[in-house]
């Protein structure tokens, strides 16, 4: 009996936060279903959510790694646009889009590595420093692009378009890739040395260092991963809309952060949940679209976004405070 209890309590220690955000997601769906059943059974509503979700997933899941490592990054919303700009510019100049994709992702990784190195080596506050980089990079984009967007209709004819963002019998391919990304990240976070070291570092970096973990390297890699995720998100969106525009990504800044925390990853480091974050993304995406779908005006959107963040935080308090 006692053994059973202990396994149950360990299970909740490991999965409580993920289960919590699944619970909020289900609750939200029920509320919408009761509030606007006609709107809710129309497939086009869910289709528009599914267009938004993959991008948000590419942004949010790597942030779970970074927040679990005890850091935060705001610059990802600009990295998203820089990578998309590199991609679109190269495609426009006749470079093979597959190569452009690789170079775009590489750009994201390089920016992540730079931001991470800056923060870790000079011991800067990641919140403030990445806020600086957020503005700086956005400025660079606006200057380089002359505030003009780039249209790349030509990728339509290239094989990467149907493979990455095409329609497979009505099924958007980006959802397939986002799902693969989630599964990969789940194992990467929970069953791989990288994720485990991130959790140790975020939990107690002094202990991790004493046990021979290279704390700075782990954190820089986490920043790089955020850069890679942002680049993928930015490039996918650019491909879906055939357009790079210089303000792109800014709108995702607060939504992706909200999804991390609504998903149940605490801000203090050492813990994180990939599954929780997926449902966090679901909650945010449905809030964005659902409010309109049930016939309320767009003005309500931010109000409900705020409300759900606060309610989710209060709910996750049930999993307790940080143990030391």
């Amino acid at each position: 009996m006692s053994n059973k209890n202990s396994y149950l309590s360990n299970y909740f220690h490991r999965n409580g936060r993920a289960l919590g955000s699944i619970g909020y997601f289900v609750l939200l769906m029920v509320i919408f279903l009761i509030g606007a059943p006609e709107a809710w059974i129309r497939p086009n509503l869910h289709q528009s959510v599914f267009v938004m979700m993959p991008t948000l997933i590419f942004l949010t899941i790597p942030l779970v790694f970074l927040v679990a490592s005890g850091e935060i990054d705001l610059s990802f919303a600009s990295t998203y646009a820089v990578a998309a700009y590199v991609f679109a510019l190269l495609v426009k100049n006749g470079v093979d889009p597959a190569i452009c994709l690789v170079l775009g992702i590489f750009t994201g990784a390089a920016i992540g590595a730079l931001v991470g190195t800056l923060i870790v080596v000079f011991r800067l506050s990641s919140l403030v420093a990445s806020l600086g980089v957020l503005f700086l990079l956005r400025g660079v984009i606006l200057l380089l692009s002359n505030s003009r967007s780039i249209t790349i209709m030509e990728i339509d004819n290239h094989w990467i378009y149907p493979l990455l963002v095409g329609n497979f019998y009505g099924f958007p391919m980006q959802i397939f890739w986002a799902a693969i990304f989630v599964i990969f990240c789940y194992y990467f976070f929970n069953k791989h040395v990288f994720g485990i070291h991130i959790q140790h570092v975020g939990d107690n970096s002094v202990s991790a260092e004493q046990m021979g973990i290279n704390v700075n390297a782990v954190k820089i890699k986490a920043f790089m991963f955020v850069g890679i995720g942002s680049a993928i998100g930015g490039i996918f969106t650019t491909m879906i809309t055939y357009t790079f525009f210089p303000t792109q990504g800014f709108g995702y800044l607060l939504l992706a952060l909200a999804a991390v925390f609504v998903g149940g990853t605490p801000y203090w480091g050492g813990l994180g949940t990939i599954i929780g974050a997926v449902f966090g993304v679901g909650i945010i995406a449905y809030m964005e679209i659902g409010i309109i779908a049930i016939g309320w005006s767009g003005e309500w959107r931010q109000f409900f976004n705020g409300l759900i963040i606060l309610l989710a935080l209060l709910g996750h308090r049930l999993h307790g405070e940080r143990v030391r």
Partner: protein, 248 residues
């Protein structure tokens, strides 16, 4: 006798302060060395340098007679040195099993972790250490454990890695009599298996009971070394310590 590790004239400075001044120390196979000194004598700096948390500014570190060029915590662990730090070096939100294998996870190719094997080994180890509560198993978070149990996890880590030298930094601090006895039993077991222990303590009686040799540290310098045969009581050790520190 083979020297497991040797510090040769090691100096460590922090800003303008010399925390360790040309300190030399060696630990040979199968011996228990007691490191004693007053607060601020440099015990902590010496230990952290010995186990690679700090790298020395001057002087050499020799592992089994061979000089090492780069020295860090990972290198020390790879050289067979495990440390039970004063603060236990645990991550309290993580499970016992993750803590036991922290930094030295059992891995498949590409860095994926042998989770089942780790859990099996961790459960075996916590039985061996003697966790009495059935509520505790390898997947319990460390944050739920008492001070003595946390020390048990830190020791289990050193046991699992079959270190040739185990450094125990104030291991009996805040422990009950029963738990202190467990630490002593552990030290004797390590010695019996022809491995070595470096034991750091405030409590002269604890250090006296367990050690074969004593190293006295004062203001960053090794001021005296003596064998247990040279003295007959802990009081004598205490007197020598007072005299050397006073004379120094």
């Amino acid at each position: 006798m083979e020297n497991i590790i040797e510090l040769d004239n090691v100096t460590k400075r922090f800003g303008g302060i010399t925390a360790l001044n040309k300190a030399s120390l060696k630990v040979t196979r199968g011996e228990v060395v007691g490191l004693i000194g007053d607060n601020g004598a440099g015990k902590s700096t010496l230990i952290k340098t010995l186990v690679g948390v700090y790298s020395p500014d001057e002087g050499d570190i020799l592992i089994r007679g061979k000089k090492v060029n780069t020295w860090n915590a990972l290198k020390a662990r790879e050289s067979g040195i495990e440390t039970v730090f004063q603060d236990r070096a645990l991550t309290p939100q993580q499970s016992i099993v993750k803590n036991i294998f922290m930094g030295k996870e059992l891995r498949y190719p590409f860095g994926f972790i042998k989770e089942k094997e780790q859990i099996f080994e961790a459960n075996r180890l916590i039985r061996e250490i003697g966790f009495t509560s059935k509520l505790i198993n390898a997947e319990s978070p460390v944050g739920n454990l008492s001070g003595g149990e946390r020390q048990g996890v830190a020791i289990a880590r050193a046991i699992y890695n079959k270190a040739e030298l185990i450094v125990l930094d104030e291991p009996t601090n805040n422990l009950s009599l029963n738990e202190t006895q467990k630490v002593f039993d552990f030290v004797l077991n390590v010695k019996k298996s022809n491995r070595s222990v470096l034991f750091i303590g405030h409590n002269i009686y604890h250090v006296y009971d367990i050690s074969d040799r004593f190293v006295i540290l004062d203001r960053g310098e090794v001021v005296h070394q003596l064998n247990k045969n040279d003295i007959s009581t802990p009081e004598e050790l205490m007197k020598i310590m007072r005299d050397t520190i006073g004379a120094h």
